[in-house]
């Protein structure tokens, strides 16, 4: 109603301009186009409504949309409940540290149907309308199914960016680490360096170069058995059901590295040289540095020493007239 007007908006208490305009032409091309506003914004009881403080909850039933498989009103509640049990799980209006955790709309937007999904090929709709008289139904059906049949996973770079929004936020990570330490809560030992160490791994480097096949965060941390379900129920590696739990790693690695065995699965995909996390790497790095610097210093020192010693006997820099020994010897001792 009101939100179809472009100038719908206000300046909020903090002085920010807020636009409340919902562009009808755009919304009508989104996957939620058939869901009436109040199916999600259920707390709007009167119009004009009061300032909204609750926000959308994705576990509501859409009374206007029927789930064809159950005949009940459609809802995201099952996946919402799964998500709540995961390591990321939280309530909509969470406070405190849990407020840092993602909610549905942290990852999901209200995506648009793309051009190909919008325009079904005539050879398909022509066949549909033979039985399904309403052509609109055929179009909607095509929009819906073609989108889900096609792979709509985010690509590797987008997933890394998405996870890094929180897992590379040092302030957020420090907050949670401190809380875990204070309360004795178990937390992954690489929790604070997950994004950084991934970037330093082979996977991370190859991903940074734009490779789409390389393992991203979810390739390992989500279960290959049902990827789409699993990304909503991510578990810490200490959980026996986690794909990165030490008992499940071989299977996880084998998704890409077909001949991977227990040895292979022991390779650290989050390499670090921090002393507390990998003492071996920490000391190896130091020793390498010392050996390298010493070798170089000794060799350069030797070259200088040699030059001084030979210059003393009169060597010159350029071979000319058949000899380089053109200088006068400055040797004090008498030659034997």
């Amino acid at each position: 109603m009101c939100h179809k007007y472009p100038k719908m908006g206000r300046v909020d208490d903090e002085g920010f301009q807020k636009a409340y305009y919902v562009i009808p032409e755009v919304f009508s091309k989104t996957v939620h186009r058939n869901v009436p506003c109040r199916d999600c914004h259920y707390y709007i009881k009167q119009l004009p409504h009061r300032p909204v403080k609750e926000g959308v909850r994705c576990d509501r039933e859409c009374h206007s949309i029927e789930n064809p498989s159950t005949g009940k009103p459609f809802s995201h509640k099952p996946i919402y409940d799964t998500f709540k049990k995961s390591v990321h799980g939280r309530e909509k209006l969470e406070t405190g540290l849990d407020n840092d955790k993602p909610y549905c709309i942290t990852c999901h937007t209200n995506p648009l149907y793309n051009k190909e999904e919008e325009a079904p090929p005539k050879k398909i709709t022509d066949r549909c309308v033979v039985c399904h008289e309403d052509e609109k139904f055929a179009f909607k059906w095509y929009n819906h199914t073609s989108r889900r049949i096609r792979e709509v996973k985010r690509d590797t770079q987008d997933i890394i960016k998405l996870c890094s929004r929180c897992h590379a936020d040092q302030e957020l990570l420090a907050r949670h680490k401190k809380d875990a330490d204070d309360t004795g809560r178990e937390i992954g030992e690489k929790y604070t360096i997950a994004a950084e160490s991934y970037q330093n791994s082979f996977h991370g480097k190859v991903a940074k170069y734009g490779n789409k096949q390389v393992a991203n965060c979810l390739s390992c941390h989500a279960s290959p058995d049902n990827y789409y379900m699993s990304v909503h129920e991510l578990r810490p590696s200490r959980d026996p059901l986690s794909p990165v739990n030490k008992n499940n790693r071989v299977k996880t690695c084998r998704q890409c590295h077909k001949t991977a065995d227990a040895n292979y699965a022991a390779i650290d995909p989050h390499p670090t040289d921090e002393k507390e996390l990998n003492e071996f790497n920490y000391y190896a790095e130091i020793i390498y540095g010392i050996v390298g610097d010493t070798a170089l210093a000794l060799l350069v020192g030797l070259s200088l020493f040699e030059t001084i010693g030979r210059k003393r006997d009169g060597i010159a820099w350029v071979l000319r007239n058949g000899t380089t020994w053109r200088g006068r010897s400055r040797r004090k001792r008498k030659s034997a």
Partner: protein, 338 residues
């Protein structure tokens, strides 16, 4: 010149191994006794051709050096932008090659060439050594293998550089510095090949290693590859290029890697024992040196005394005599048997 124990040993071995005939030995004996005790006087007065006078490296070694340095430098120039991919210079460099995926392919292709060059080198040195052994011409002191004398040479050379010694030690075909460099490069190559292959074939390496070592191995390799590459590049840039290009006497460059020849003054200064072998096998070098010593008035004042003290020539003549007699006896025996 009265030959040192080392020189006696090296020259004696060479004369026997190459069966140098009596007339050459007589000539050699004379030229050696004419040489002044202070070897500096020799290499300071000889004439050298900048592109080299005396043969040193076969064409195989020169090809291997070309292959090694071209692949090494290109591997470094493609490997560094892969490792330091965030650096301001790495991005445009990778873009120039068509993106980092292309840089990686080039890097791996060059690595294959480097491995082939290593294999070629191993065939040459092992084959060459075996051939010399079969022919009875192998002398460990003339090879690149490190021996105790290298440590003595190193200490003596340091004393010379410090001004505590009048002459550099008498070093063989390969001096201590070259042996260090050769084995450092060999070690580096092996590290680079193993670590590089562990990135390319991690499943293979981890399947053959014990479980306790497997993960540490991969991490060690991940550290080793860039560290070793950087160290090698710096050693090449600061040490090898200094030694062959910038050091006085070598500037602007030693041509040995192209011509296979070393300048005379360099040979006498740093590889005196090899120079003695050259004198033994090259009559024209003996003539040249004789002329220089006489014309510059460098002939040793104690020539006669030195000649009497250099027993090896007499020993060799005696040995030839015995060999000839043995040969004659063999001929007689053969005649009787037939």
């Amino acid at each position: 010149m009265k030959l040192s124990n080392d020189a006696n040993k090296v020259l004696g071995t060479f004369l026997r191994q190459y069966k140098i005939p009596t007339e050459d030995v007589n000539d050699l004996e004379e030229i050696v006794s004419m040489m002044p005790e202070d070897r500096k006087q020799i290499y300071k007065n000889v004439q050298s051709n900048p592109v080299g006078d005396l043969f040193r490296y076969s064409v195989h070694i020169r090809i291997q050096h070309l292959l090694t340095f071209t692949t090494f430098l290109l591997l470094a120039f493609t490997g560094l932008p892969i490792h330091y991919n965030d650096a301001f210079w790495a991005v445009p460099f990778n873009d120039l090659l068509g993106g980092v995926e292309v840089t990686r392919v080039i890097h791996r292709t060059l690595a294959t060439w480097m491995v082939l060059s290593m294999v070629y080198h191993l065939f040459t040195v092992i084959g060459g050594t075996l051939q010399k052994m079969v022919e009875g011409k192998f002398d460990i002191g003339r090879s690149i293998l490190p021996i105790l004398k290298d440590a003595r040479d190193f200490a003596a050379d340091m004393a010379y550089f410090a001004g505590q010694r009048d002459n550099r030690p008498e070093m063989d075909k390969f001096m201590y510095k070259q042996k260090i460099h050769y084995f450092a490069a060999a070690f580096g190559n092996i590290v680079m090949v193993i670590s590089g292959s562990s990135f390319l074939f991690p499943e293979f390496w981890n399947s053959i290693l014990p479980p306790d070592i497997a993960s540490h191995f991969q991490e060690m390799m991940r550290l080793s590859h860039p560290h070793e590459a950087l160290l090698a590049l710096l050693v090449i840039a600061f040490w090898h290029w200094y030694n062959v290009h910038l050091a006085p006497g070598r500037f602007p460059m030693q041509w040995t890697f192209l011509t296979g020849k070393l300048t005379r003054e360099h040979q006498i200064e740093e590889h005196f024992l090899e120079y003695l072998r050259c004198l033994a096998s090259l009559p024209e070098e003996r003539s040249y040196l004789r002329e220089v010593l006489v014309s510059k008035g460098l002939v040793s004042a104690t020539k006669e005394i030195d000649a009497r003290q250099n027993f090896l020539f007499d020993q060799h003549r005696q040995w030839i005599k015995e060999q000839t007699e043995l040969g004659a006896q063999g001929d007689v025996l053969e005649d009787r048997q037939s």
